[in-house]
Protein backbone atom coordinates (compact mmCIF):
# COMPACT_ATOMS: atom_id res chain seq x y z
CA UNK A 1 0.00 0.00 0.00
CA UNK A 2 1.30 3.45 -0.86
CA UNK A 3 0.85 6.64 1.09
CA UNK A 4 -1.80 7.92 -1.31
CA UNK A 5 -3.98 4.91 -0.50
CA UNK A 6 -3.37 5.37 3.21
CA UNK A 7 -4.30 9.03 2.93
CA UNK A 8 -7.53 8.04 1.20
CA UNK A 9 -8.37 5.61 4.01
CA UNK A 10 -7.68 8.25 6.63
CA UNK A 11 -9.80 10.76 4.73
CA UNK A 12 -12.79 8.41 4.53
CA UNK A 13 -12.47 7.30 8.13
CA UNK A 14 -12.18 10.91 9.24
CA UNK A 15 -15.53 11.49 7.53
CA UNK A 16 -16.95 8.52 9.43
CA UNK A 17 -15.41 9.97 12.53
CA UNK A 18 -17.75 12.94 12.16
CA UNK A 19 -20.78 10.68 12.40
CA UNK A 20 -19.15 8.76 15.26
CA UNK A 21 -18.62 12.03 17.13
CA UNK A 22 -22.22 13.01 16.44
CA UNK A 23 -23.54 9.76 17.89
CA UNK A 24 -21.22 10.13 20.87
CA UNK A 25 -22.09 13.76 21.61
CA UNK A 26 -25.85 13.45 21.08
CA UNK A 27 -26.02 10.32 23.22
CA UNK A 28 -24.07 11.95 26.04
CA UNK A 29 -25.96 15.24 25.97
CA UNK A 30 -29.36 13.52 25.96
CA UNK A 31 -28.75 10.47 28.14
CA UNK A 32 -27.15 12.28 31.09
CA UNK A 33 -30.24 14.40 31.91
CA UNK A 34 -32.56 11.55 30.96
CA UNK A 35 -30.52 9.36 33.31
CA UNK A 36 -31.34 11.77 36.13
CA UNK A 37 -35.03 11.62 35.23
CA UNK A 38 -34.88 7.80 35.24
CA UNK A 39 -32.96 7.90 38.52
CA UNK A 40 -35.71 9.96 40.14
CA UNK A 41 -38.37 7.63 38.80
CA UNK A 42 -36.38 4.64 40.07
CA UNK A 43 -36.06 6.27 43.51
CA UNK A 44 -39.67 7.43 43.54
CA UNK A 45 -41.83 6.62 46.55
CA UNK A 46 -44.47 5.58 44.05
CA UNK A 47 -44.04 1.81 44.08
CA UNK A 48 -45.45 1.21 40.61
CA UNK A 49 -43.21 3.83 39.02
CA UNK A 50 -40.06 2.58 40.69
CA UNK A 51 -40.86 -1.03 39.78
CA UNK A 52 -41.45 -0.14 36.14
CA UNK A 53 -38.12 1.69 36.14
CA UNK A 54 -36.36 -1.20 37.82
CA UNK A 55 -37.61 -3.64 35.18
CA UNK A 56 -36.78 -1.21 32.39
CA UNK A 57 -33.24 -0.71 33.66
CA UNK A 58 -32.62 -4.42 34.07
CA UNK A 59 -33.82 -5.10 30.49
CA UNK A 60 -31.59 -2.34 29.13
CA UNK A 61 -28.61 -3.70 31.01
CA UNK A 62 -29.43 -7.36 30.46
CA UNK A 63 -29.82 -7.42 26.67
CA UNK A 64 -27.33 -6.52 23.92
CA UNK A 65 -27.33 -2.94 22.77
CA UNK A 66 -27.03 -4.20 19.20
CA UNK A 67 -30.32 -6.02 19.56
CA UNK A 68 -31.93 -2.96 21.14
CA UNK A 69 -30.86 -0.87 18.13
CA UNK A 70 -32.50 -3.38 15.78
CA UNK A 71 -35.70 -3.36 17.82
CA UNK A 72 -35.87 0.44 17.76
CA UNK A 73 -35.22 0.47 14.03
CA UNK A 74 -37.76 -2.19 13.06
CA UNK A 75 -40.42 -1.57 15.70
CA UNK A 76 -42.38 1.12 13.80
CA UNK A 77 -42.86 -1.10 10.75
CA UNK A 78 -43.11 -4.52 12.42
CA UNK A 79 -45.32 -3.44 15.34
CA UNK A 80 -47.36 -0.63 13.86
CA UNK A 81 -47.12 -1.23 10.12
CA UNK A 82 -45.55 2.16 9.52
CA UNK A 83 -43.19 2.50 6.61
CA UNK A 84 -40.41 4.85 7.51
CA UNK A 85 -38.79 5.71 4.23
CA UNK A 86 -37.48 8.88 5.79
CA UNK A 87 -33.76 9.28 5.11
CA UNK A 88 -32.74 10.18 8.62
CA UNK A 89 -34.55 7.28 10.34
CA UNK A 90 -31.47 5.04 10.56
CA UNK A 91 -29.46 7.67 12.34
CA UNK A 92 -32.41 8.66 14.54
CA UNK A 93 -32.99 5.04 15.53
CA UNK A 94 -29.34 4.75 16.52
CA UNK A 95 -29.59 7.87 18.70
CA UNK A 96 -32.87 6.74 20.29
CA UNK A 97 -31.42 3.30 21.02
CA UNK A 98 -28.19 4.68 22.48
CA UNK A 99 -29.87 7.38 24.55
CA UNK A 100 -32.36 5.03 26.18
CA UNK A 101 -29.71 2.40 26.83
CA UNK A 102 -27.15 4.79 28.30
CA UNK A 103 -29.75 6.66 30.33
CA UNK A 104 -30.51 3.35 32.07
CA UNK A 105 -26.84 2.86 32.98
CA UNK A 106 -26.48 6.47 34.08
CA UNK A 107 -29.65 6.19 36.18
CA UNK A 108 -28.08 3.38 38.21
CA UNK A 109 -24.82 5.30 38.59
CA UNK A 110 -26.70 8.40 39.74
CA UNK A 111 -28.80 6.36 42.13
CA UNK A 112 -25.69 4.98 43.80
CA UNK A 113 -24.36 8.55 43.95
CA UNK A 114 -27.55 9.91 45.47
CA UNK A 115 -27.71 7.13 48.03
CA UNK A 116 -24.15 7.79 49.13
CA UNK A 117 -25.07 11.30 50.32
CA UNK A 118 -25.71 11.24 54.06
CA UNK A 119 -29.24 12.11 55.25
CA UNK A 120 -27.59 14.77 57.42
CA UNK A 121 -27.00 16.88 54.32
CA UNK A 122 -30.73 17.00 53.62
CA UNK A 123 -31.45 17.69 57.29
CA UNK A 124 -28.97 20.57 57.50
CA UNK A 125 -30.45 22.04 54.31
CA UNK A 126 -33.92 21.64 55.76
CA UNK A 127 -33.00 23.42 59.00
CA UNK A 128 -31.44 26.26 57.00
CA UNK A 129 -34.70 26.73 55.12
CA UNK A 130 -33.63 25.55 51.66
CA UNK A 131 -36.50 24.47 49.44
CA UNK A 132 -36.47 20.98 47.89
CA UNK A 133 -35.23 22.37 44.58
CA UNK A 134 -32.50 24.46 46.18
CA UNK A 135 -31.41 21.52 48.29
CA UNK A 136 -31.03 19.38 45.21
CA UNK A 137 -29.26 21.87 42.97
CA UNK A 138 -27.09 23.68 45.55
CA UNK A 139 -26.29 20.94 48.05
CA UNK A 140 -26.90 17.46 46.70
CA UNK A 141 -26.17 17.63 42.97
CA UNK A 142 -22.65 19.11 43.25
CA UNK A 143 -21.65 16.33 45.62
CA UNK A 144 -23.31 13.65 43.49
CA UNK A 145 -21.51 14.89 40.38
CA UNK A 146 -18.16 14.55 42.10
CA UNK A 147 -18.93 11.04 43.30
CA UNK A 148 -20.31 9.72 40.02
CA UNK A 149 -17.54 11.14 37.88
CA UNK A 150 -15.32 8.02 37.88
CA UNK A 151 -18.11 5.59 36.85
CA UNK A 152 -19.46 8.13 34.35
CA UNK A 153 -15.97 8.34 32.84
CA UNK A 154 -15.94 4.55 32.43
CA UNK A 155 -19.36 4.62 30.74
CA UNK A 156 -18.24 7.43 28.47
CA UNK A 157 -15.21 5.49 27.35
CA UNK A 158 -17.44 2.48 26.69
CA UNK A 159 -19.73 4.74 24.69
CA UNK A 160 -16.90 5.77 22.37
CA UNK A 161 -16.33 2.11 21.54
CA UNK A 162 -20.04 1.28 21.41
CA UNK A 163 -20.66 3.85 18.68
CA UNK A 164 -19.27 1.22 16.30
CA UNK A 165 -22.46 -0.80 16.89
CA UNK A 166 -24.26 1.69 14.64
CA UNK A 167 -22.95 -0.44 11.76
CA UNK A 168 -25.88 -2.85 12.29
CA UNK A 169 -28.18 -0.12 10.99
CA UNK A 170 -25.68 0.80 8.27
CA UNK A 171 -25.14 4.27 9.62
CA UNK A 172 -21.94 5.49 8.04
CA UNK A 173 -19.90 6.04 11.13
CA UNK A 174 -16.22 5.25 11.26
CA UNK A 175 -16.42 1.52 11.87
CA UNK A 176 -18.98 1.01 9.10
CA UNK A 177 -16.68 2.88 6.74
CA UNK A 178 -13.69 0.83 7.83
CA UNK A 179 -15.55 -2.44 7.19
CA UNK A 180 -16.56 -1.31 3.73
CA UNK A 181 -13.06 -0.25 2.76
CA UNK A 182 -11.66 -3.53 4.04
CA UNK A 183 -14.23 -5.42 1.97
CA UNK A 184 -13.28 -3.59 -1.24
CA UNK A 185 -9.52 -3.34 -0.78
CA UNK A 186 -8.86 -6.52 1.20
CA UNK A 187 -6.34 -4.64 3.32
CA UNK A 188 -6.26 -4.66 7.10
CA UNK A 189 -5.02 -1.08 7.21
CA UNK A 190 -8.49 0.54 7.61
CA UNK A 191 -9.07 -1.44 10.81
CA UNK A 192 -5.74 -0.36 12.20
CA UNK A 193 -6.40 3.26 11.29
CA UNK A 194 -9.87 2.97 12.90
CA UNK A 195 -8.30 1.53 16.03
CA UNK A 196 -5.95 4.51 16.21
CA UNK A 197 -8.89 6.89 15.81
CA UNK A 198 -10.85 5.24 18.65
CA UNK A 199 -7.79 5.14 20.83
CA UNK A 200 -7.04 8.83 20.34
CA UNK A 201 -10.73 9.71 20.86
CA UNK A 202 -10.72 7.89 24.18
CA UNK A 203 -7.42 9.43 25.22
CA UNK A 204 -9.05 12.82 24.72
CA UNK A 205 -12.15 11.74 26.67
CA UNK A 206 -10.01 10.44 29.52
CA UNK A 207 -7.97 13.65 29.58
CA UNK A 208 -11.07 15.85 29.66
CA UNK A 209 -12.70 13.80 32.41
CA UNK A 210 -9.44 13.80 34.34
CA UNK A 211 -9.40 17.60 34.13
CA UNK A 212 -12.93 17.81 35.50
CA UNK A 213 -12.12 15.38 38.29
CA UNK A 214 -9.09 17.43 39.21
CA UNK A 215 -11.19 20.58 39.23
CA UNK A 216 -13.55 18.96 41.73
CA UNK A 217 -10.79 17.63 43.95
CA UNK A 218 -10.67 20.75 46.10
CA UNK A 219 -12.64 18.86 48.72
CA UNK A 220 -13.35 15.30 49.70
Amino acid sequence: MNSAQLLLIIKRLAEGMLTTTEIFALTLVLSLPLGFVFCFMRMSKNKALSTVMKVYISIMRGTPLMLQLMVVFFAPSLLFGLTLSWQGWRFTAVIVGFVFNYAAYFAEIFRAGMESISPGQYEAANILGFSKGQTFFKIILPQVIKRVLPPVTNETITLVKDTSLAFVLSVMEMFTEAKQIVATTSSIAPFIVAAVFYFVFNAIVAAVMGKIEKKLSYYN
Binding site: A124, I127, G129, F130
Partner: protein
Protein backbone atom coordinates in the same frame (compact mmCIF):
# COMPACT_ATOMS: atom_id res chain seq x y z
CA UNK B 1 -40.81 36.99 80.46
CA UNK B 2 -41.64 36.02 76.93
CA UNK B 3 -41.77 32.45 75.80
CA UNK B 4 -39.57 31.67 72.82
CA UNK B 5 -40.70 28.08 72.47
CA UNK B 6 -43.70 26.27 73.78
CA UNK B 7 -44.22 22.56 73.09
CA UNK B 8 -47.21 20.87 74.63
CA UNK B 9 -48.22 17.24 74.95
CA UNK B 10 -45.97 16.03 72.16
CA UNK B 11 -46.46 12.45 71.09
CA UNK B 12 -44.43 10.67 68.46
CA UNK B 13 -44.27 7.03 67.42
CA UNK B 14 -42.22 5.17 64.87
CA UNK B 15 -44.51 2.34 63.74
CA UNK B 16 -45.66 0.86 67.05
CA UNK B 17 -42.70 2.17 69.02
CA UNK B 18 -43.89 5.21 71.00
CA UNK B 19 -40.80 7.35 71.45
CA UNK B 20 -42.28 10.55 72.92
CA UNK B 21 -45.07 10.03 75.41
CA UNK B 22 -46.76 13.32 76.11
CA UNK B 23 -43.76 15.63 76.50
CA UNK B 24 -44.01 19.37 77.14
CA UNK B 25 -41.36 22.04 77.24
CA UNK B 26 -41.44 25.80 77.59
CA UNK B 27 -38.37 27.91 77.03
CA UNK B 28 -38.18 31.56 78.07
CA UNK B 29 -36.07 34.17 76.35
CA UNK B 30 -32.45 33.88 77.44
CA UNK B 31 -33.00 30.57 79.16
CA UNK B 32 -30.67 27.61 78.73
CA UNK B 33 -32.29 24.19 79.02
CA UNK B 34 -30.27 20.99 79.08
CA UNK B 35 -31.85 17.66 78.22
CA UNK B 36 -30.17 14.61 79.69
CA UNK B 37 -31.08 10.96 79.68
CA UNK B 38 -29.93 7.53 78.57
CA UNK B 39 -29.48 6.82 74.87
CA UNK B 40 -32.69 5.79 73.16
CA UNK B 41 -34.83 7.82 75.56
CA UNK B 42 -36.09 10.10 72.77
CA UNK B 43 -33.93 13.21 73.22
CA UNK B 44 -32.94 13.51 69.57
CA UNK B 45 -36.45 12.74 68.40
CA UNK B 46 -37.71 15.55 70.62
CA UNK B 47 -35.29 18.07 69.08
CA UNK B 48 -36.11 16.77 65.62
CA UNK B 49 -39.81 17.33 66.28
CA UNK B 50 -39.09 20.85 67.51
CA UNK B 51 -37.15 21.61 64.32
CA UNK B 52 -39.56 19.91 61.93
CA UNK B 53 -37.17 17.17 60.89
CA UNK B 54 -39.88 14.85 62.20
CA UNK B 55 -43.61 15.46 62.30
CA UNK B 56 -45.47 14.98 65.55
CA UNK B 57 -48.46 12.66 66.02
CA UNK B 58 -50.20 15.03 68.42
CA UNK B 59 -49.53 18.09 70.55
CA UNK B 60 -48.65 21.67 69.71
CA UNK B 61 -45.53 23.66 68.95
CA UNK B 62 -45.36 27.45 69.13
CA UNK B 63 -42.42 29.72 68.42
CA UNK B 64 -43.37 32.94 70.16
CA UNK B 65 -46.92 33.45 69.03
CA UNK B 66 -46.39 31.71 65.69
CA UNK B 67 -47.96 28.29 65.57
CA UNK B 68 -45.82 25.66 63.85
CA UNK B 69 -48.10 22.74 64.66
CA UNK B 70 -51.29 22.18 66.55
CA UNK B 71 -53.68 19.31 66.96
CA UNK B 72 -57.29 19.56 65.96
CA UNK B 73 -59.87 17.14 67.38
CA UNK B 74 -61.16 16.22 63.96
CA UNK B 75 -58.36 16.62 61.47
CA UNK B 76 -55.35 15.70 63.61
CA UNK B 77 -52.05 17.59 63.46
CA UNK B 78 -52.04 20.74 61.35
CA UNK B 79 -48.72 22.28 60.37
CA UNK B 80 -48.01 25.87 59.39
CA UNK B 81 -48.22 26.58 55.67
CA UNK B 82 -45.17 27.33 53.55
CA UNK B 83 -45.10 31.09 54.07
CA UNK B 84 -45.55 30.76 57.83
CA UNK B 85 -42.96 27.98 57.97
CA UNK B 86 -40.40 30.19 56.27
CA UNK B 87 -40.91 32.85 58.94
CA UNK B 88 -40.73 30.29 61.73
CA UNK B 89 -37.67 28.67 60.19
CA UNK B 90 -35.69 31.83 60.80
CA UNK B 91 -36.46 31.70 64.50
CA UNK B 92 -34.60 28.51 65.30
CA UNK B 93 -31.58 26.54 64.25
CA UNK B 94 -30.05 23.21 65.14
CA UNK B 95 -26.44 22.16 65.67
CA UNK B 96 -25.93 18.51 64.81
CA UNK B 97 -23.78 15.95 66.53
CA UNK B 98 -21.80 15.33 63.35
CA UNK B 99 -21.81 18.94 62.08
CA UNK B 100 -23.36 18.23 58.67
CA UNK B 101 -21.39 20.98 57.01
CA UNK B 102 -21.61 21.11 53.22
CA UNK B 103 -18.28 19.63 52.10
CA UNK B 104 -18.26 21.28 48.68
CA UNK B 105 -18.64 24.78 50.10
CA UNK B 106 -16.00 26.92 51.76
CA UNK B 107 -16.52 27.86 55.39
CA UNK B 108 -17.76 31.27 54.24
CA UNK B 109 -20.27 29.75 51.82
CA UNK B 110 -21.47 27.27 54.42
CA UNK B 111 -22.40 30.19 56.62
CA UNK B 112 -23.77 32.58 53.98
CA UNK B 113 -25.58 30.29 51.54
CA UNK B 114 -28.86 30.16 53.45
CA UNK B 115 -29.01 33.88 54.35
CA UNK B 116 -28.24 34.80 50.74
CA UNK B 117 -30.24 32.28 48.74
CA UNK B 118 -33.11 31.53 51.12
CA UNK B 119 -33.66 34.78 52.95
CA UNK B 120 -32.37 37.29 50.41
CA UNK B 121 -29.74 38.92 52.59
CA UNK B 122 -27.36 40.98 50.40
CA UNK B 123 -24.09 39.12 49.87
CA UNK B 124 -21.85 41.81 51.36
CA UNK B 125 -23.95 42.00 54.48
CA UNK B 126 -24.13 38.21 54.87
CA UNK B 127 -20.37 37.96 54.55
CA UNK B 128 -19.83 40.70 57.08
CA UNK B 129 -22.07 38.88 59.56
CA UNK B 130 -20.25 35.62 58.79
CA UNK B 131 -16.85 37.21 59.42
CA UNK B 132 -17.91 38.56 62.79
CA UNK B 133 -19.32 35.15 63.72
CA UNK B 134 -16.07 33.48 62.66
CA UNK B 135 -14.16 35.92 64.82
CA UNK B 136 -16.41 35.06 67.71
CA UNK B 137 -15.63 31.38 67.08
CA UNK B 138 -11.89 32.09 66.85
CA UNK B 139 -11.86 31.04 63.19
CA UNK B 140 -11.39 34.34 61.38
CA UNK B 141 -8.51 32.86 59.36
CA UNK B 142 -10.59 29.90 58.10
CA UNK B 143 -13.18 31.67 55.94
CA UNK B 144 -11.71 30.33 52.72
CA UNK B 145 -10.98 26.83 54.04
CA UNK B 146 -13.08 23.77 53.20
CA UNK B 147 -14.60 21.65 55.97
CA UNK B 148 -12.27 18.71 55.19
CA UNK B 149 -9.30 20.91 56.06
CA UNK B 150 -10.57 21.56 59.59
CA UNK B 151 -10.43 19.59 62.82
CA UNK B 152 -13.67 18.23 64.26
CA UNK B 153 -13.79 20.97 66.84
CA UNK B 154 -13.26 23.64 64.19
CA UNK B 155 -15.96 22.08 62.01
CA UNK B 156 -18.39 22.15 64.89
CA UNK B 157 -17.58 25.80 65.55
CA UNK B 158 -18.27 26.56 61.88
CA UNK B 159 -21.59 24.77 62.15
CA UNK B 160 -22.46 26.87 65.20
CA UNK B 161 -21.57 30.00 63.23
CA UNK B 162 -23.78 28.73 60.40
CA UNK B 163 -26.63 28.19 62.84
CA UNK B 164 -26.20 31.72 64.22
CA UNK B 165 -26.03 33.39 60.80
CA UNK B 166 -29.73 34.17 60.68
CA UNK B 167 -29.73 35.43 64.24
CA UNK B 168 -32.18 32.79 65.53
CA UNK B 169 -34.18 33.30 68.67
CA UNK B 170 -33.39 29.82 69.90
CA UNK B 171 -30.62 27.37 69.19
CA UNK B 172 -30.87 23.60 69.62
CA UNK B 173 -27.82 21.39 70.12
CA UNK B 174 -27.97 17.62 69.78
CA UNK B 175 -24.93 16.24 71.60
CA UNK B 176 -22.61 18.83 70.06
CA UNK B 177 -19.47 17.24 71.49
CA UNK B 178 -20.24 13.53 71.13
CA UNK B 179 -18.51 13.13 67.76
CA UNK B 180 -15.36 14.84 68.98
CA UNK B 181 -12.17 13.55 70.52
CA UNK B 182 -12.23 14.25 74.26
CA UNK B 183 -9.51 16.87 73.99
CA UNK B 184 -11.65 18.83 71.51
CA UNK B 185 -14.89 18.93 73.50
CA UNK B 186 -13.58 21.77 75.67
CA UNK B 187 -13.43 24.28 72.83
CA UNK B 188 -17.08 23.64 71.92
CA UNK B 189 -18.28 23.82 75.51
CA UNK B 190 -16.41 27.10 75.83
CA UNK B 191 -18.23 28.50 72.81
CA UNK B 192 -21.61 27.42 74.24
CA UNK B 193 -20.72 28.96 77.61
CA UNK B 194 -19.97 32.19 75.76
CA UNK B 195 -23.34 32.06 74.04
CA UNK B 196 -25.07 31.48 77.38
CA UNK B 197 -23.29 34.52 78.78
CA UNK B 198 -24.62 36.55 75.86
CA UNK B 199 -28.12 35.39 76.81
CA UNK B 200 -28.65 33.16 73.80
CA UNK B 201 -31.72 30.98 74.29
CA UNK B 202 -30.63 27.36 73.96
CA UNK B 203 -31.83 23.79 74.33
CA UNK B 204 -28.91 21.43 74.63
CA UNK B 205 -28.95 17.64 74.63
CA UNK B 206 -25.74 16.61 76.32
CA UNK B 207 -23.94 13.89 78.22
CA UNK B 208 -21.61 16.40 79.87
CA UNK B 209 -23.21 16.50 83.32
CA UNK B 210 -21.02 19.10 84.96
CA UNK B 211 -21.35 21.32 81.90
CA UNK B 212 -25.15 20.98 82.07
CA UNK B 213 -25.14 21.82 85.74
CA UNK B 214 -22.95 24.90 85.30
CA UNK B 215 -24.43 26.35 82.14
CA UNK B 216 -28.10 25.40 82.13
CA UNK B 217 -30.82 27.16 84.06
CA UNK B 218 -33.08 24.16 83.86
CA UNK B 219 -32.45 20.48 83.25
CA UNK B 220 -34.89 17.96 81.88
CA UNK B 221 -34.25 14.30 82.52
CA UNK B 222 -35.84 12.03 79.94
CA UNK B 223 -36.16 8.29 80.10
CA UNK B 224 -38.11 5.95 77.88
CA UNK B 225 -40.06 8.75 76.22
CA UNK B 226 -41.13 10.46 79.44
CA UNK B 227 -39.86 13.50 81.29
CA UNK B 228 -39.04 11.80 84.57
CA UNK B 229 -37.72 14.82 86.40
CA UNK B 230 -37.08 18.47 85.68
CA UNK B 231 -36.07 21.53 87.55
CA UNK B 232 -33.30 23.90 88.49
CA UNK B 233 -30.05 22.64 87.02
CA UNK B 234 -27.89 22.58 90.14
CA UNK B 235 -30.67 21.27 92.32
CA UNK B 236 -31.49 18.44 89.93
CA UNK B 237 -27.89 17.26 89.59
CA UNK B 238 -27.00 17.70 93.26
CA UNK B 239 -30.23 16.35 94.72
CA UNK B 240 -31.87 13.96 92.29
CA UNK B 241 -35.24 12.73 93.54
CA UNK B 242 -36.26 9.82 91.33
CA UNK B 243 -34.45 6.52 91.45
CA UNK B 244 -34.02 6.52 87.72
CA UNK B 245 -32.20 9.86 87.73
CA UNK B 246 -30.05 8.73 90.66
CA UNK B 247 -29.11 5.58 88.76
CA UNK B 248 -28.44 7.58 85.60
CA UNK B 249 -26.23 10.14 87.35
CA UNK B 250 -24.27 7.49 89.20
CA UNK B 251 -22.95 6.30 85.86
CA UNK B 252 -21.17 9.61 85.38
CA UNK B 253 -19.46 9.64 88.75
CA UNK B 254 -15.87 8.68 89.04
Amino acid sequence: MSKVLSMKNIRKSFADNEVLKDISLEVEKGEVVAIIGPSGSGKSTFLRCATRLETIDSGEIYYGDECMARTDEKSGVIYADKAQMKRINKKFSLVFQNFNLFPHMSVMKNITSSPISVFGVPKAQAEKTAMSLLERMGLEDKAKAYPCELSGGQQQRVSIARALALNPEILFFDEPTSALDPELTGEILKVIRGLAKDKMTMVIVTHEMSFARDVADKIIFMDDGYVVEQGDAKELINNPKSDRLKAFLSRFEN
